[in-house]
Symmetry: D2
Subunit: 291 residues, 4 copies
């Protein structure tokens, strides 16, 4: 799935003042991200507040974005029920999306064999490329390297978003999977470390605000200019950390609103950034001349 | 909510061979549990495989159990969306359930203020007693003692199921809340330690198989016969641990099936216990003459 | 080793203004502790700043305390070298101490078999009762229940101080060892929970300031007055936590100095409590009329 | 301290069959390591079984190695007592070593201010370059980025060995310290990720067996050939992990013995690798044609 590129953005879902999905703004934001270097979009992922979107809203989002955007669209559709994941997958397919992001079941904690079966059964139910998503800090379960290895042999399981924070595990996943199976880090701050041990790219949140610099950082690294890459890493380190100082996507929505890109507040149980958090983010943004 | 008693069972949901809900068996199991000492039932909780039940199935379950059982019925209806939690709560209310068990939002990780707002808004939307449920190992977020204190002042938030494994935090919650706010441990193996630092009772899984012994253990403790209570604790220690050797409710369903109580297999992404796990559970059951 | 009783105090080492050991004050403090209910004394443990006492100072302390006190004296002599642990043990023996407290080797992280060998070899080198000490938060290694079981079969290994915070592991240790092998919790706040699942007593820090209340708490529990025990637990909960709000023994030394018991400051790398910490401790002490 | 180079080896201490230090073999090993690309040697660090060497043995080792080797010699002399650390430092200085490796105090858990004071006082007591050593998995305490920043302003504190496993913290340390303050990772497997976010080099264990390949990996990265660097990383990934499958230095001593470099067994409380561990290491070594 090299067509997905190296800088995928997990896009926020813009809301209007009534906290309804603002589809127009979503399309505008998506185009803006692509202009800044985003190579594919995850829609309705964690950053897109997938948990508080209705099935209809998700479907509308997938369709609207897909119709209006040139880069691949990856639909975030995983749940903690295999049956409902398949159902969601089929709805997304109807919009012609290019791929699915499927998170490990959260809360009910399947073991490794059950994880394998879950992903296998979903993959067999749809004919579309799938990116696995490992984020134990949210799900309470880890997809181990051996399970990744087994899953990578299924034809339409083509990629992994690894957000365990464990870079050795990420590297193990790269080692154990075929060359055309692509491992992305799900953590902006680990982009360079991950590339250095075999990751293909990043599924990013920070690219909402520093997309072109992240692109340059990645490209510098790939062209062998590691010094320049590291230099950009240090320029971005504070904003990378600042965007996760409280639960994502609270900070990134605040940052976008500051930049005049009206993505609105968050749906409950999440709530907009407090003044102290906003001030901290603003400080980092100012240093980068973003506000 | 002293009417809920000290030994609440978080009931499994029986399935038939097609993995459809077996309502008849559910009612039979519920009655059996009550006969063994269960003082209230949590229906469609984590142990009840809530994540893979449809809204209709849950509603049917709540209604069927409520109609056929004498003890209070507490409906597990929490999700990680405030709006859908309220919707679920209202459906459960229609069945006349006696209370709601509402878990902290999983996966999207609200902070403490957002947690407070989530529970407050849900509590205000329904007129029914609510038990909070803290289980950070599954949700990725912890409801801190200060948030519990604030929530305990809301009239219909009456109890807490504390399953963080942190007995000091449990004791803090007892200390910071009014006398009629009841704290239950959500971990069988911590029943006695929790009682000793102020818990009122336990929301139990093990009571499916050793209900009457747990009742005796709790009662011995309350009557001041701590030696007898500890003695029973040691008799049950292996089965307490054995029922959580893999993700609950995999072991307890295996145990019930062994005892001839046909609760069936599990819905994906969970899968039935492997032979080695079954053998281990059976060994513990045999020592207690349960099989 | 029931002669060690249920309320062992891990005693601080008083220093004078030059940070020399104040032996006189040590004897005075020891007598005071016994008067308040302490049943045995650990000298030169973690709380006694063992790491910054010289071999000579330890020996002097053991001898001075032993000569002047009626209750058993347990010498803290463990290091992360088997050879030096044996050497220290022999020096302590020369003072006629009643037992040894031997911590798991810190920093170099022996595995379970190596832990067993370490304790076995030390135990065979001396003819004196030994209490094992498990404190993984400090040592970086945990003595597992199976290793405790194996060690409990060695004649002069007679007790365990369990400070892992894991009450299930503590209970497992009780279950797997003979009746005359005594398990103590090393955490004041877990005294009642530990007693409820089989612990014999506590190796305490808080007994420096609330010894008689802890004694009453323990005795109430043992006599079956669990309500009274829990009531005292809640009275002491803040001071239990306050004494560990920063690294022990910083707070307890501050608390003793506040009470007019001049135990002095700490030796580097530890340093005396900051004003904010002192103020917090003082607040808890005032509520208990201790200052 | 660029003269220390990028590939520092934390050297094992060879023992003879009586578990006495084999100084001759130590010198031979040191020379062999330098021939393979090691740019400086840590003597009597964790890998060198510092905890079980006597003061005399350490001094002899420092002197013998210093006399016979061309690269800088860094003496591992930290303890959990400030006074004894200074004493050890002075003994090492007498041998003319080139620097000191000073670990954060283990076991007694100083807070950040106390850590600062500890290192400051030691640094002021000696005129020699100092490398700080952060390894919270062993010490139970973490030297935070802010403390590193403060310490980096002390003239003879010139480097950090960061072995927390937290690559973001490592990168923060680089960002907050002057350009001539050098940050080394203490984890072989994180060499490339660390270089990518600003580390200068590695304090290595694996360089005992794959020194020249590590050198090539590091140099490839620095020259911009990141592909080649990553390729070597994957060749070495199994041996990097294999050398830490049980507590270091158990596996590396086994590996060296397999290669015919007689470094002997370990002093208690550590014990030689079990057959199953040896077999696993051997398998990894064979793939690299090392045995």
């Amino acid at each position: 799935m090299k067509s997905w590129g190296r800088l995928i953005t997990a896009m926020v879902t813009p809301f209007n003042e009534k906290l309804e999905v603002n589809y127009e703004q979503a399309v505008e934001l998506a185009n803006r991200l692509v202009a800044e270097g985003t190579t594919a979009l995850v829609v309705s992922g964690t950053t897109g507040e997938g948990p508080t979107l209705t099935a209809e809203e998700k479907e509308n989002l997938f369709c609207k974005i897909k119709e209006n955007i040139s880069v691949p669209v990856i639909a975030g559709i995983g749940t903690n029920s295999t049956a409902s994941t398949i159902e969601n997958a089929k709805r997304a397919l109807a919009c012609g999306v290019d791929g699915l992001l499927i998170v490990a079941p959260y809360y009910n904690k399947p073991d490794q064999d059950s994880l394998f079966e879950h992903f296998r059964v979903v993959a067999e139910a749809v004919e579309i490329p799938i990116m696995l998503y490992n984020v134990p800090g949210r799900t309470g379960c880890n997809i181990g390297p051996e399970t990744i290895e087994r899953l990578s042999k299924i034809e339409n399981i083509v990629a992994l978003k690894e957000a365990s924070g464990n870079i050795i595990q990420l590297s193990e996943a790269v080692k154990r999977t075929p060359d055309d199976f692509l491992v992305y880090t799900g953590e902006d701050v680990l982009t360079l470390p991950s590339l250095s041990v075999g990751a293909y790219g990043v599924v990013s949140v920070a690219s909402h605000v520093v997309g072109s610099r992240m692109k340059e950082m990645i490209n510098s690294f790939l062209r062998g200019n590691t010094e320049r890459a590291t230099e950009i890493h240090f320029q971005l380190l504070d904003i990378f950390n600042g965007l996760f100082v409280v639960t994502n996507p609270i900070p990134v929505k605040a940052a976008l609103n500051m930049m005049g890109i009206r993505v609105g507040d968050l749906r409950m149980p999440l709530t907009a950034a407090k003044p102290s958090i906003k001030a901290e983010i603003q400080r980092h943004m100012r240093k980068l001349d973003l506000v």
